[in-house]
Amino acid sequence: MFLNNSGSPSVELSSYRDQHFKGSRAEQEKLLKQSTTLYVGNLSFYTTEEQIYELFSKCGDIKRIIMGLDKYKKTPCGFCFLEYYTRADAENSMRYVNGTRLDDRIIRIDWDAGFVEGRQFGRGKTGGQVRDEYRADFDAGRGGYGKLMQQKLGPSEIGGGFPR
């Protein structure tokens, strides 16, 4: 057939590959292409599971949500995994929710090869996500300045965010 909509750009794999994945690149890609699990990033530390549920239920029945946690503090650190029962529902999220706002922030969604115990923890040195170690901007929803910046600036500039 000449004209069809399969392989549409919004559901394609991104260039990200999990460095800690146990298996070959080819295996990882195979899993990504069949996956019903999504990675959701750029969340605020204060975004709740309930909010995530409400938004993503619009794309289909959610099987489970796994909040991303700071490795030491065990508090949310701005990402989560979201698993649907079907691939089609996950694709709907990629098509219609990726790049829109949750909790006032533009969220980014990507395919994930599948949740494995341990992957819910941030991989940054100080316990959160790697991106929060190095970033130079001030992000009130993600602990203020990046961790390296905070060390440079000293105690008076640390922090940010508004607990509810």
């Binding site: 004209l3 919004s10 938004l55 619009k58 709907n92 098509r95 219609y96 929710v97 829109t100």
Partner: protein
């Protein structure tokens, strides 16, 4: 040259051919897309293709046919191309016509209604290009219209054939009028006679607004008929459609025409599913758009241009609905954008789909995200029109269909969440003082509840003016009554404390059950003599509330708790009365947190601790009457019905897959010592199929029972209300009645595919002639959908 060389040469030749084929395909698909000289493009392409007809005839035939059907908005471009080819090569023209007719036949047989209609329209347009004779087209139309005279077939079948012929007339009406005016009039008379006879009962149930003020909500065939009639009054002069063939008239009229081989509509088969009727959605007319002098005018409701523009916009949405960015760009690049107030047309078409009954064509969030994309693409025009649309919706809520009301609540709250919830709330301040069940304050209340789910309570309180205080949601909090402070007031606090410790220490199911067995049963005190109560409400309340209180921190915590003590819950919730008690306990605990209630009930249905029928009965119970008109209740009922439907569908699918596999099993099932001859997987035996059939039958029984319960409860409460109003001599038409009858309609409509199966049972058992006509009417409207 050896064999390998020859193979190589052949492969090279094949891949060369493949390249040319691909290039030809690309040329054909893309013709008319760039804003270059269309006529010279068509001329050039026709020459190229004519040259290739020798080698690539089949391929060209196939691509052209596909383009004609799959890119209907370029119908006249491709028909011109075929016209030019026909004038150069008469045989090719004949082959193409045959090919197209065969496609039409196949599409009719396989119920691909849209494709069939585009085929028919293309054939009609070929008359304009002198490829087909007007006579044979008229003969084709006559044959197809025989369907409207058939007896004992669904009305929707006859409707489709009338619609298919009518929708060709904007293209070929003028030509037929010039050459065969008499026959054209006869055709129109046939259609008119049919339209006058047909029932329009379904109009009531498919319209978004119950009133025709300010914009008539017309039944689709009636609307098109009015548009065609206006076109006829204008002598079939139509200025909207691009007609490249006009420039080639001198060449084309020299060509020889073909006759269409005769075809008749494939006879109706009970398995055929015809498109459902619809009501044309209108929310704008030219008075809603900016001053005439400032911009192009929106064509009137009965102008054929309105039909053509809408159809084209819907087609764009169909083609690009997987890519919201591309879709928004294509919509705003609409080829005729300079002639119309494009933003108004686009927004009207999008809401037409979002509010479409019984359900939107695509998932609701697609339309939400498309509107967001349009706001980004055209930040100086779209948001203003959208704001205007929102205001219009709000002030016309009173007559709006209940399902559409729900969808607007969902859309609006989600839309706001992408714009920091900023909105001119003051504009709607007057509604705050209306009766709480009036649609306007209800809309605000439900929107605030939904926006709260996407943010948090304080945020919502802060975003609205102080005057909105009475519409604000309660703060969602867990309400646990078995606190130690309540030990003197509430019975069971002691047990709750014991259970709390036991659960925290991760006691086993057995240990928990033993604790529960010690709880005295309040029903025993009331019971007379030997009647053993079938459940212990105190047991249930204490356990369920304590367990869920311990898991109150998040959904996941509650799910973990439920999974952990699944056996205990199963043991407790054995009977329907026990399950009702479970539901009551959950409701008591989480009354202010609607989202939690929805999610918990969904979970308990999923792991079958609760039966669908219990949830249905709970919703209609006296205790829940104060919640009855709130949206989340219908969210719960809807998900309950859907779960049952999904279950039945899954079993149906599994059964048919199993039946196929049985057919392929080569081994006989007589001898047990035989090696299974079917590779790996499962060997499907007749016995397995029988067991699956039983499972399916049982599930369908449950489904029928669920619908019976729901409809019966509706009938009971509505009848009660009608009788009471009659006795008291007051009008029955209060807000509660409007919402409730609307919900009954909604259940019929939203699940009509499933309910259909049980129509005769419903008619015999519940919707009998002695029922109040108001209630019976809803049932008859539902029946008319597929009649």
């Amino acid at each position: 040259m050896n064999a390998l060389d020859r193979l190589g040469k052949k492969r090279r030749k094949v891949s060369e051919n493949q390249d040319i084929e691909d290039r030809l395909g690309k040329l054909i698909i893309e013709v008319g897309e760039k804003n270059t000289n269309l006529e010279s493009n068509l001329e050039g392409l026709a020459s190229v293709l004519e040259g290739d007809l020798g080698t690539f005839r089949a391929k060209v035939l196939r691509i052209l046919t596909e383009c004609a059907i799959k890119i209907p908005e370029k119908c006249t471009i491709y028909s011109t191309l075929v016209g030019l080819l026909n004038s150069k090569n008469y045989n090719f023209g004949g082959e193409f016509v045959e090919h197209m007719v065969r496609n039409l036949k196949d599409n009719l047989k396989s119920c691909n209604w849209n494709s069939a209609r585009y085929c028919l329209r293309f054939l009609a347009d070929l008359v304009n290009c002198h490829v087909i004779s007007a006579n044979s087209l008229l003969a084709l139309f006559d044959n197809l219209l025989d369907a409207v005279k058939e007896e004992g077939v669904p009305m929707v079948r006859k409707d489709w054939y009338a619609y298919a012929v009518l929708s060709c007339l904007p293209w070929v009406g003028r030509e037929l009028y010039e050459k065969k005016e008499h026959e054209l009039n006869m055709l129109l008379t046939t259609i008119e006679v049919y339209l006058n006879k047909r029932s329009k009962k379904h109009l009531a149930v498919l319209r978004v607004w119950a009133t025709d003020n300010p914009h008539p909500q017309e039944e689709y065939l009636e609307c098109l008929w009015a548009q065609i009639n206006k076109l006829r009054q204008d002598n079939w002069t139509e200025n909207h459609i691009l007609r490249p063939y006009l420039a080639f008239d001198s060449i084309l009229c020299e060509a020889l025409q073909h006759n269409i081989p005769a075809i008749i509509p494939p006879p109706h088969h009970p398995s055929y599913k015809y498109p459902m009727p619809w009501v044309v959605f209108r929310m704008f007319d030219y008075t809603d758009c900016p001053e005439v002098s400032l911009g192009p005018i929106l064509p009137g409701a009965h102008a054929i241009e309105r039909y053509l523009i809408e159809e084209h916009l819907h087609q764009i949405i169909e083609l690009y609905h997987y890519e919201r960015k591309e879709c928004s760009q294509q919509l705003m690049n609409f080829p005729y954008k300079l002639n119309i107030p494009l933003e108004y047309c686009v927004i009207e078409v999008i809401f037409a789909e979002l509010l479409s009954l019984p359900s939107p064509r695509y998932i609701e969030i697609f339309y939400s995200s498309l509107l967001l994309e349009l706001c980004k693409l055209k930040p100086y025009s779209i948001p203003q029109v959208l704001a205007q649309a929102t205001e219009m919706f709000f002030f016309r809520l009173e007559n709006m269909n209940v399902a559409c009301f729900d969808r607007l609540v969902t859309w609006f709250s989600y839309h706001l969440s992408n714009f920091k919830f900023s909105f001119a709330w003051d504009d709607w301040e007057a509604s705050v003082k209306f009766h709480p069940e009036h649609p306007q304050p209800k809309f605000i209340r439900e929107v605030l509840l939904k926006t709260m789910r996407l943010s948090y309570h304080q945020r919502i309180c802060d975003m609205v003016p102080k005057s909105y205080a009475s519409l604000l949601p309660e703060k969602p909090e867990v309400n646990y009554k078995y606190n130690i402070e309540n030990s003197n007031i509430i019975e069971g606090v002691q047990y709750a404390q014991t259970l709390t410790t036991a659960i925290r220490q991760k006691n086993s199911d057995e240990q928990i059950i033993n604790i529960l067995k010690d709880i005295s049963n309040p029903l025993l005190m009331e019971a007379s003599g030997d009647v053993e109560p079938r459940f212990n409400p105190l047991q249930i309340s204490v356990f369920v509330q304590t367990l869920l209180f311990l898991g109150a921190k998040s959904f996941t915590h509650s799910f973990v708790a439920i999974n952990r003590y699944y056996e205990v819950l199963k043991w407790l919730a054995e009977s329907e009365e026990a399950q009702l008690c479970v539901l009551r306990s959950i409701f008591e605990l989480w009354r202010t947190h609607q989202q939690m209630l929805v999610v918990l009930i969904d979970k308990l249905l999923k792991n079958q601790i609760l039966d669908c029928s219990s949830v249905a009965n709970w919703i209609f119970s006296k205790e829940m009457s104060s919640e009855f008109t709130k949206l989340y209740i219908w969210e719960i009922l809807c998900l309950t019905i859907n779960k049952m439907s999904k279950h039945v569908n899954r079993l149906t699918k599994e059964l048919s897959e199993m039946r196929e596999k049985v057919g392929h099993t080569t081994g006989s099932s007589d001898s047990e010592d035989e090696e299974p001859q079917v590779k790996s997987e499962e060997k499907v035996t007749e016995e397995m199929v029988e067991r699956m059939e039983e499972k399916l039958e049982s599930a369908q029984g449950d489904q029928k029972n669920l619908f019976l319960i729901i409809f019966q409860r509706f009938i009971m409460i509505l009848s009660e209300h009608l009788v009471r109003c009659d006795t008291d001599g007051i009008s029955h038409d209060n807000y509660w009645y409007k919402w409730t009858i609307g919900r009954l309609q909604q259940v019929f409509l939203a699940h009509h595919d499933q309910v259909q199966k049980y129509s005769s049972t419903l008619e015999t058992l519940l919707f009998t002639q002695d029922l109040d006509p108001h209630i019976l009417e809803v049932f008859h409207q539902f029946l008319s959908l597929r009649g």
